[in-house]
């Protein structure tokens, strides 16, 4: 007789839904400073544990503690703080611009600013970044003109990519910012190829790429890890675990069984898991991975543990699937507030300076908006229609020539 139980399907569910009190008690958070910093030549097997710990530098009082403290000079930290403030101000303005009907779509990175800003500052523009739509901070940290970002968002006549892409799908080759694809995960593996090319050519550039927690389910993520490990590709593989993928919590991508960093272990990659809201921890971990990549020791996977504070996009309403105040209850705080507190503790910053910096950011964004909106918002201004038929190929064939004529341009 059969003595096994009836099989049943497990479908993961988050700890809270609308109306529930946010509950983060299940998170195992290491104390700041508690995780050791291995030498960059440590083998993946020797540092397995790091995939399950959480590297933190800033403590609750804003002091930098432990072996991962990158000991940054105050000026660098102030630059980082200002870039994060500017990123947030830009997001707020463009989210509003969408509400005002000036564009079709927008996506914010609220709460995740430390990641792209710190990493954008560490690597050079020669090192190609393969971002998702939530790394606008990379461009902002590198002083990319805000008005040009807006021109892209408005698909106006000065949009550098000629109105072809959905808003925020920037492309900025000179700033180490690869053209963003709307198709999730595809670029993760391309970054590995870019790094391999640098190695094939005996160059010194490395690649860096990002993927969301949800998108790690795509096959391309797994192909990327395989190729990166096999060829010891000079690339930094980030997983931005912001807990949500539109309405699906990270458990739907496998986050209940293990960490996203630990996905690297099976592929033989060194893995770090980092507090993504801690500017200094992000900085230190990225530097570790950078050194490894630059010295021919290959790729590192870094899970950046954070929280998506904003709706997924302007088309989304998170109050339908998660507790309303989850973001405020996030135990790892806000990256801007935490770096600010740290600088103030060092005597290198003040509330007044913060207020001033915030005002300055809003003013910068306003000035950029004036400049961009003078050219035009979506539909008011756009590139010439004939550009629709250009750059499909290096040279147009007869079909495109005929079709362009049919449109009369």
């Amino acid at each position: 007789m059969k003595n096994t139980p009836t099989l049943s399907l497990r479908v993961p569910e988050p700890s809270g839904r609308p109306g529930d009190t946010p509950d983060f008690s299940h998170l195992k958070l290491d104390e700041p400073g508690a995780v050791a910093r291995p030498d960059v030549s440590t083998t993946p097997a020797e540092m397995r544990d790091h995939a399950f710990r959480l590297i933190r530098v800033l403590d609750d009082q804003g002091k930098a503690v432990g072996p991962w403290d990158p000991k940054l000079d105050p000026e660098t930290m102030r630059r980082g703080l200002k870039a994060m403030i500017l990123t947030r101000a830009f997001d707020d303005r463009m989210h509003r611009a969408h509400r005002q009907g000036k564009t079709s779509f927008y996506m914010k990175c609220t709460g995740e600013e430390a990641i792209a800003v710190a990493q954008g500052m560490i690597l050079s523009r020669e090192d190609m970044g393969f971002p998702t739509y939530r790394q606008q901070g990379l461009l902002i940290a590198r002083d990319y003109p805000l008005a040009t970002m807006m021109n892209q968002i408005y698909s106006n006549a000065e949009d550098p990519i000629k109105g072809r892409q959905l808003p925020i799908m920037y492309s900025a080759k000179d700033y180490g910012f690869f053209t963003i694809s709307g198709n999730l995960g595809t670029q993760y593996v391309q970054a590995v190829g870019w790094g391999m090319a640098s190695a094939i050519r005996g160059d010194d550039k490395i690649a860096i790429t990002w993927i969301g927690d949800g998108s790690t389910a795509e096959s391309d993520f797994h192909s990327a890890l395989t190729f990166a490990a096999v060829y010891r590709a000079p690339v930094i593989l980030n997983v931005v675990n912001n807990q949500w993928a539109i309405s699906s919590f990270q458990g739907i991508a496998g986050g209940l069984e293990t960490t996203f960093a630990s996905k690297g272990i099976g592929y033989g990659l060194p893995a770090l898991r980092v507090d993504g809201n801690d500017f200094l921890a992000v900085w230190a971990a990225t530097q570790w991975a950078e050194e490894r990549a630059r010295t021919n020791q290959g790729a590192t996977i870094i899970e950046l543990f954070t929280y998506r504070g904003a709706p997924h996009s302007t088309s989304d309403d998170p109050s339908r699937y998660r507790p309303g105040d989850e973001h405020e209850k996030w135990p790892l705080g806000d990256p801007i507030a935490r770096l600010k507190q740290h600088l103030i503790g060092l005597g290198e910053w003040s509330d007044a300076q913060q207020e001033e910096a915030e005002k300055e950011a809003v003013e910068k964004v306003r000035a950029a908006a004036r400049e961009s909106e003078a050219i035009g918002t979506l539909g008011q201004s756009r590139p010439s229609v004939k550009t629709m038929f250009e750059e499909v190929y290096a040279t147009e064939d007869w079909r495109l020539v005929e079709q362009r004529r049919e449109v009369g341009v």
Partner: protein, 367 residues
């Protein structure tokens, strides 16, 4: 201009107070938009047949980004309606396994533009399972996906990839153009013993869109084809619908373009017969042949790019079967052979003006 957002928000508002599910003692017919009609088809089939399961990205708890699977999890349980990891190949691959086991999975690919990671599973596996196993294994499953443009979605929320699937032996391809057909055809697709690719014209979810994009959006309510039985019914796969009878020219269209074709004919003042193909594979060749032999002229309209689009197949069939009845060359009105550009939505989208121009050309281009 915030059209994607408006669309999605409108969907949410529409759905919030009106779950379009069967109420045993409710009315037999209800006015439904396309989302509600599709939702009703799933709901009715899931209630009737315990082997039907529905899943996809955001399609469980939240009910899908377009709300088509709303309430299904609450009503039919986590086991039967759930969220999937963001892996289209995983979604379709597991559906194949389930179908081979004996379930009837209906999976959602969030946008047709994201179906490509699943292409291998669909083309090499689902389509060929029956044939290669000598009938031992079959894949009765439906892959649902919103497709098409008109919502300022840029190149990754606007594509019409139907011809990539009509080309594959073993797949059926269904595209409804209104709530009534959406429910009846989805029901038929779920009951079909072969894999069905079911594309939902997202621009039509909330109302018939005729391509005159500056006109205010009209709701489904006013349309006869939005009066939908709340209970079960089936619209057969493989049958076209004559949307409007006419004497002078046949327009072959499907999805959003059915409404654009009607508007184009009206604009041109031509007595066109508008045929909604509804199913691309298997195709209702009799309906096409009968109409073209009657009118002697044929204009084909689709949103997908021209080269190797389904219009090429239709044009060849018409030429093969109706050559001696044709008064003018068959014409195609299609999207251009470019990616779908964000800024040029309405230059790319083959609207009623282009349909009207083609109709006039066909009417005057006699032999």
């Amino acid at each position: 201009m915030a059209e994607i957002n408006d669309k999605i928000e409108a969907d949410m508002v529409d759905q919030k107070d009106a779950p379009a599910s069967v109420a045993p003692d409710g009315p037999a017919i209800a006015s439904m938009n396309m989302i509600q009609a599709l939702n009703s088809a799933l709901d009715v089939k899931m209630a009737e047949d315990p082997t039907v399961v529905s899943y996809g990205e955001d399609a469980g708890y939240f009910g899908g980004v377009f709300r088509v699977t709303d309430h299904l999890q609450k009503k039919h349980g986590l086991n039967r309606s759930f969220d999937a990891p963001i892996s289209e190949s995983g979604i379709v691959g597991t559906a194949i396994g389930m179908a081979a086991y004996g379930l009837r999975p209906v999976v959602e690919i969030q946008f047709a533009d994201y179906i490509y990671p699943a292409y291998d599973q669909i083309v090499s596996e689902a389509a060929k399972m029956r044939y290669r196993s000598g009938g031992q294994f079959t894949t009765p499953m439906v892959v649902r996906s919103p497709y098409g443009g008109g919502i300022f979605g840029g190149q990754t929320h606007s594509q019409s990839p139907e011809s990539l699937f009509t080309h594959i032996a073993g797949l059926k391809v269904v595209i409804p153009s209104n709530p009534y057909d959406a429910k009846g055809l989805l029901t038929a697709a779920i009951e079909d013993d072969d894999p069905v690719i079911f594309f939902e014209p997202k621009r039509l979810y909330n109302g018939p869109f005729d391509g005159w994009h500056e006109k205010p959006v009209s709701p489904w309510k006013a349309q006869e084809l939005a009066q939908v039985p709340t209970g079960k019914y089936v619209e057969p796969i493989g049958k076209a619908r004559v949307m409007k009878e006419g004497a002078d020219v046949t327009i072959l269209a499907y999805g959003t373009m059915v409404w654009v074709a009607l508007a184009g004919a009206e604009h041109a003042g031509v007595d066109a017969e508008v045929i909604d193909l509804r199913t691309l594979v298997p195709l209702d060749i009799e309906a096409i042949e009968a109409s073209v032999k009657k009118t002697g002229r044929c204009v084909i309209v689709h949103e997908a790019p021209k080269t190797s689009g389904f219009g090429g197949e239709l044009s060849a069939l018409v030429q093969e079967r109706c050559f001696y009845h044709l008064e003018a060359p068959v014409a195609r009105v299609t999207g251009w052979d470019t990616p779908y550009p964000h800024a040029f939505e309405w230059e790319y989208f083959p609207g009623p003006q282009r349909v009207a121009d083609a109709l006039k050309a066909v009417m005057t281009g006699g032999r």
